[in-house]
């Protein structure tokens, strides 16, 4: 018998709004539609009426998880228009915060995925480790989210030697603990049953639709802005681009676990080789000439695009923000097809969506 099963828009998986309509034959999803736009906040509109520093503060609030990514991408766009060269120490500090943000974002998603899968003990273990990362972020920046570490022309806060040592010690602790999480995920039967072969996105479909980030890498597509178009000194660091060709929910879990190791490697290198010198070019409201630039940053969920247009005045002419979920959400109908209704929530969550980010 055919049914139409509506899911959402209120919190179908993560605590964010999206609506999916599943067209089912019994328990099997025949096809699906996804509807977005439930959390539009008019941020691009507001950005046209704020100066560059006000906008920097505002765009950091596009997302509560990858807030640093937004501030970084916006600042990079302005710096590119103005031809500013950020001091090396400022670039390294930006990378350290970006990778700590990736770690806490991946841990957050892993915990949620494990909770949906039904493995609550591992969910709690994962989030326990995440707290250590959040504590370090608080120590370095003063905040658990919305760090305020970026200014146009560099970083706003320096990292002291004591903070550097504390961060390195935290990395040692969570890396050891991550080994246990990885082994559990690889060996646990419940996790395998809930994730292997579920919500498959083939490499061909990922390329056809334009998926990005860990979501695409879990389908065997080797894309990563940090490697493809390095910025903020990412070319100085030795790290691997991790891919997996499974294309299922299990691959998406595994990719994020393995990427945590790479983020730890990057942060260690940046902290150990932190260059001496200035961290920014000053903190006054910058003068930005007329121009336009598009920059890309590898946010935790994938490529974040900022296109900024200026006219030489005090305000932005246009700030266009496109987050990874805008590229990955269109893959959901493909992933939901021929799966069970019971797995729909997990499949939607498996792209690590940020719908509020996407709606801006």
């Amino acid at each position: 018998m055919s049914y139409i099963v509506p899911i959402g828009p209120y919190h179908p998986a993560l605590e964010e709004p999206v609506h999916a309509r599943l067209y089912t034959e019994g328990e099997r999803i025949d096809h699906a539609e996804v509807f977005i736009g439930y959390n539009h906040r008019g941020i691009e509109k507001l950005a046209q009426q704020k100066n560059f520093i006000q906008t920097l503060v505002m765009v950091e609030r596009v997302c509560g998880i990858c807030s640093h990514s937004h501030a970084l991408a916006y600042a990079m766009a302005l710096e590119s228009i103005a031809g500013m060269e950020v001091p090396k120490r400022g670039q390294y500090i930006r990378v350290i915060i970006a990778e700590l943000e990736r770690l806490h974002s991946h841990y957050l998603w892993l915990g949620i995925a494990l909770h949906i899968i039904g493995h609550d003990s591992l969910f709690m273990h994962t989030w326990d480790d995440r707290e250590a990362i959040m504590d370090i972020l608080e120590e370095l920046t003063g905040n658990r989210v919305n760090y305020g570490m970026v200014t146009v022309g560099g970083s706003r806060r320096d990292i002291s030697d004591e903070q550097r040592k504390n961060t390195l010690a935290m990395l040692d602790t969570i890396e050891k603990s991550m080994d246990g999480i990885r082994d559990m995920i690889l060996g646990d039967k419940t996790i395998a049953l809930r994730t292997r072969g579920v919500g498959i996105l083939t490499k061909e479909d990922a390329l056809r639709i334009g998926a990005i980030g860990p979501h695409a890498r879990a389908s065997g597509v080797p894309v990563d802005v940090r490697k493809d178009a390095p910025y903020s000194s990412y070319e100085d660091f030795d790290f691997a681009l991790v891919t997996h060709d499974g294309g299922d929910v299990f691959s998406r879990v595994l990719i994020r676990v393995l990427e945590n190791y790479e983020s730890i490697k990057i942060i260690r290198q940046a902290l150990e080789a932190l260059p001496a010198g200035r961290i920014n070019l000053g903190t006054r409201i910058p003068r930005i000439p007329a121009g336009e630039y598009m920059v890309r940053h590898e946010a935790p969920r994938g490529q974040l695009c900022y296109k900024v247009v200026t006219d030489g005045g005090e305000f932005n002419r246009r700030v266009s923000i496109h987050v990874p979920t805008f590229r990955n959400a269109p893959t959901l109908p493909v992933m939901l097809r021929n799966n069970s209704v019971a797995d729909a929530g997990l499949i939607i969550a498996s792209i690590d969506p940020c719908f509020s980010c996407m709606d801006r």
């Binding site: 736009g37 691009e44 509109k45 334009g210 894309v223 598009m294 266009s320 805008f326």
Partner: protein, 131 residues
């Protein structure tokens, strides 16, 4: 600094270019748009070529052909979003459903990027009981 190169093209070149890029396996990073002072559109097709972005821009046009049949949903969603936010249309694009802005926003009018902020506030407060 990431490389960014702007190249002006005509609206007739949009589809043949997209076809060539697609056949060469070049990803479409995004489609961006804004309005000039005279109300004419400026639409950029941002292709990831090598490690940089080649931004093929059509300037002074408010109607363009869709490339959603060439780049699939990777172009369809950006085109639908632009046509909801700005008075720029894409010929051949299915806009029978709203993608991005709520159906009720400003009485279904949308295109908030070109409305004065006072009008946005007045309309959302007055007709929809907004805050």
């Amino acid at each position: 600094m990431q490389e960014y190169k702007k190249i002006l093209i005509s609206q007739e070149e949009v589809r043949p270019l997209a076809q060539r890029m697609r056949e060469s396996g070049i990803p479409l990073a995004m489609i961006h748009a804004f309005l000039r002072d005279d109300g004419k559109g400026n639409v950029s097709y941002e292709y990831e070529v090598g490690s940089g972005i080649e931004s093929y821009t059509v300037d002074g046009v408010n109607e363009l052909p869709t490339i959603s049949d060439i780049y699939d949903l990777g172009a369809e969603w950006p085109e639908r979003e632009i046509s909801e936010l700005l008075p720029i249309t894409f010929t051949g694009l299915d806009t029978s459903q709203r993608l991005f802005l709520p159906d009720t926003l400003i009485g279904g009018q949308g295109q908030i990027l070109v409305l004065p902020m006072e009008k946005v506030i007045e309309k959302t407060r007055g007709k929809e009981g907004g805050q």
